[in-house]
Symmetry: D3
Subunit: 224 residues, 6 copies
């Protein structure tokens, strides 16, 4: 029996990063497997990308017969509602899991987006959770693909953005608004003193808890 963490893009690098980010949770003794969506785009950057992966992600989950649960490892939570409609197994989107985790780590959470263009989607999701009053701000790294490949450059920008969220926007918790940033989490925390959430870690821990507690979004009704 396996908890599947699905990266809906086709980047092997991101998928390997997920695997590494989740290694501390392997100690819990439940198999976790990270998959990627081969037909997905290399990265999920637009609304069209998001919607284009919903159907294939849904298809993929249908084939995973030994699944005990699913984590959709994209900060846009593509297909989460669809998969939930089909299964009673725990299904978690990393954005909703990160945001709900943030509520018990501080008063005001800040989100670090990769691109400015994702922010309206993030705001709509925060509004939809009824949590806009808890959001300090959502700020973008605004780094190009090549810059993102440069780890020093990316870290530098992550730190300056996290400090801005803390000092100007009043954030006391930071959410890394992307599936591929776990490797920086500890360094952001050490540099800012702010609890920093990697959304895939948060969602996977939450999914494991639900598996062990048999906590389903759709419990079976006993007509007896």
């Amino acid at each position: 029996m396996t908890l599947y963490v699905i990266n809906p893009n086709s980047s092997q690098g991101v998928t390997d990063g997920l695997k590494k980010a989740l290694s501390p949770l392997e100690a819990l003794g439940h198999p976790i497997r990270c998959l990627m969506l081969n037909e997905g785009p290399p990265g999920i950057e637009t609304q069209a990308h998001i919607d284009s992966v919903i159907q294939p992600t849904l298809q993929l989950t249908r084939t995973l017969d030994d699944a005990t649960g699913f984590v959709i490892a994209c900060f846009s939570d593509p297909g989460v509602k669809d998969i939930r409609a089909e299964t009673a197994l725990p299904v978690l989107g990393i954005r909703e899991a990160a945001i709900s985790s943030a509520l018990t780590l501080g008063n005001r959470f800040g989100i670090i987006a990769i691109r400015q263009g994702s922010i309206p989607r993030h705001l709509a999701a925060v509004d939809a959770m009824g949590l806009s009053d808890r959001l300090a701000a959502d700020r973008a790294l605004e780094l190009g693909v090549t810059e993102l490949a440069d780890e020093t450059r990316t870290l530098q920008r992550l730190l300056s953005t996290a400090r801005h969220l803390r000092d100007e926007d009043g954030a006391d918790v930071v959410i890394l608004g992307c599936a591929g940033m776990a490797q920086y989490r500890a360094r952001v925390e050490a540099a800012t003193g702010l609890p920093t959430i990697d959304p895939t870690q948060a969602a996977t821990a939450m999914a494991l808890g639900r598996i062990f507690l048999r906590q389903s979004h759709k419990p079976e009704v006993n007509h007896a």
Copy 2:
């Protein structure tokens, strides 16, 4: 190393119930120990009770040198802020954990209180989380001590209250608003089809995730 689940009242029955409720999480391999507060009241029913246990609970946590984290198993979250101020270990109140868990299990959560008198405190806590728009309603069982001792009677009332939350108030998730109701969770789910949250289970699973992920509300700053 141990995760301590502290029942701030002095009821052995409640404490034994917690132990039983958490047994599914023992499979995760991390020691969990349920303690009770000997100097606490038999039950925590008033604001005065709540505040009277804050200092002793805080004292108790100071003596638990092998702690990896703390769960305060009272739906009023007494002392959670105080303990967090003193330690960087995960500290979770069961009310805040239950409410944040509910956000990913449905749109509108309903809370089942034991007593009418607790509802204003619950509402204030939901407001303080910025989540009043997500609350369907908070309804009380209104059972006396002797009735609560009668399991059939209590279950009956739990089911009618949960159905009311579902059918009249529009709740699609139920939170058991008390530490001592875990034994009824599966039956409420089977009878209503609504995901039902035992707050101590939710908080303990969350605490374990944080321990494994080293997710602290107060990460150490690296001045190097």
Copy 3:
């Protein structure tokens, strides 16, 4: 040049109903054409249905070269964000248009859903618009397919639901939460005295206004 009103399901009856509902707007002199999605399901009732029509709807809009704007005539607003990402022409979802129209017709709007199962989606959408405080309630007709075919039965249920929204929930505006109910609008108004919104009419009027005003969600930047 034509404003296209797209019914993402494959029901000819609904599509004919849209055409009739929009006839009062033909007087404005701008061509309006109602299309349906042949590959769509007969009705859109589940999250899976919703997501299954996004791609085909998007495809369809790409083929409509003489379009001056698009109205997506399904109360789940499928694909609206995607189409907006591709075009600067006005694109309106009927749900968002109905809800924003309701704000200037009263203080508290009530929504009449066809099925109970749609209500959580409606609530999430209202939350996402930041308007949960303006919502009086969302109530379902709970009629089966055959009953919906019975106009007398449907009207009767619509009226009792609208009266409940008015008298119990405090609604002073009613939104028909479905694309296929326009024929009942005048009768609901005459029976209840409440302004009643047919979402497709509201969205189409809004789209025409934007076409004439050249009001785009994505105006062209003049780099001159």
Copy 4:
């Protein structure tokens, strides 16, 4: 039959500007007539001005026997509630219409006020619509009467304010918070890429839609 757009101040220049701003809507074939309130102040800048025009505006509407609807072209919506209490014809205030239109053009709207002193009134109105979470910010041009007469100066200030709303406050839609700014709308859009709403245009388009759809805030009850 005529839709009356009433400028509650006595500035001929503003009234002429309204007429020009609405010319694109004449193509819809419904007569639109812009009137001004001769007894009104030259400009409406204070709460006292606002309330002083309510009665005369109400009086004026009573004399317009061929009216099919009314638009009150002052961003403080003076008398809108009063007129609605007297007639079943569509009555729209330009502020409420602009704000409700903004909801379908972006996530966060910014308002450009002429004077700092109007901002508290705007905020109260946004709060009253339940939309404070959708407001990015409200910023004033702070230009004196003579500066406002200087079109280049005014445009320059409009653009810098719109850019500030976009870049610092996160607005993705702009509302021109005054009846007399339509002439700048296209230039603000071209310079910023943000959808920009002229409130009188928005309200008049909305009023026309209601006239054609016979959408009243007070439908007649059929006691038959």
Copy 5:
């Protein structure tokens, strides 16, 4: 020097009732004088009534040279903003004062309206204060003029409405939504156990506090 409590309607009975309601505050030693607006309507029941009294009320305040502050004793707060714009003396509307007082007497306040037709205005005011999440419900007595003259009948209806607010709507504070109900306050409290606010008493006490504390909404700037 005198604090003026202005009843904007022309009912001597209501004015006498105000005088009586405020007698406990005479012990504070500051002169309080209740005036009525002779040109006002006998009762203020519609939006038109409300706006019709704004100018005369404003005029009246201008003539009261020995004023130390003003209370506008109508639950629609007519003219409050206008008077504040003209004077730095304390100016309080009874509705806003009652609602802000309720915040420190309980979690959820209920409002008792005289007429159903006033409720949308009350809701808009509560929304405008940003307090819709604190409102339990607003319910009307729905008594005709003659019934209101019958004290027994009115009390009976007040008690049943207050009990409904408490038991069905979850209110733990009651606001009498009218200037003329003070005589019933003690009886509503004794019958329900709920803190019950007479808005004129609340506003007058608040005004006196501001007079003694020299707390102005518009303090003088010292340019020295």
Copy 6:
């Protein structure tokens, strides 16, 4: 009979300041007595401090037999809920009183905190009152103990913070977020033109009003 204003810290200087701040209210003729908590910390700066004073404050109130009401003069409102649970006399916390007073003095209130570390507590309290949309910002003086002893330095920082709240954050009311700042209130008002609230003055005036009006949070039920 006496209204007791309790300073839960053990600073004589602060207690003397309270006495002075309240002298304008002595004119109301009701005895007011300021006490301090000898066993309290010299200042209340942490959550642990807050909770450590709850029990002793509660004890102290039990000994004050001639009390007509209580004001808890610490901006964290420690023990307010507990004392209310024990008595029907008016009990006011200075934070809640200041915030509810601010609602009728402007649209957006700003809070001046002494220390950055208090801001999360303030935000949680504002959220709990459902008022986060009315808060402009909460900014800290960030002065050390010695600097706070320097009145010129403190005033200077208060003024710059108040101006920042006004000019950058849009506050039109200022709350001094501490019990010991009353001596600066008039100077902040004179320098900024913003209504400025000393929380102890606001709470004490409110308490006096309740004493004279016999307005209790827990009225006696008449079972006759």
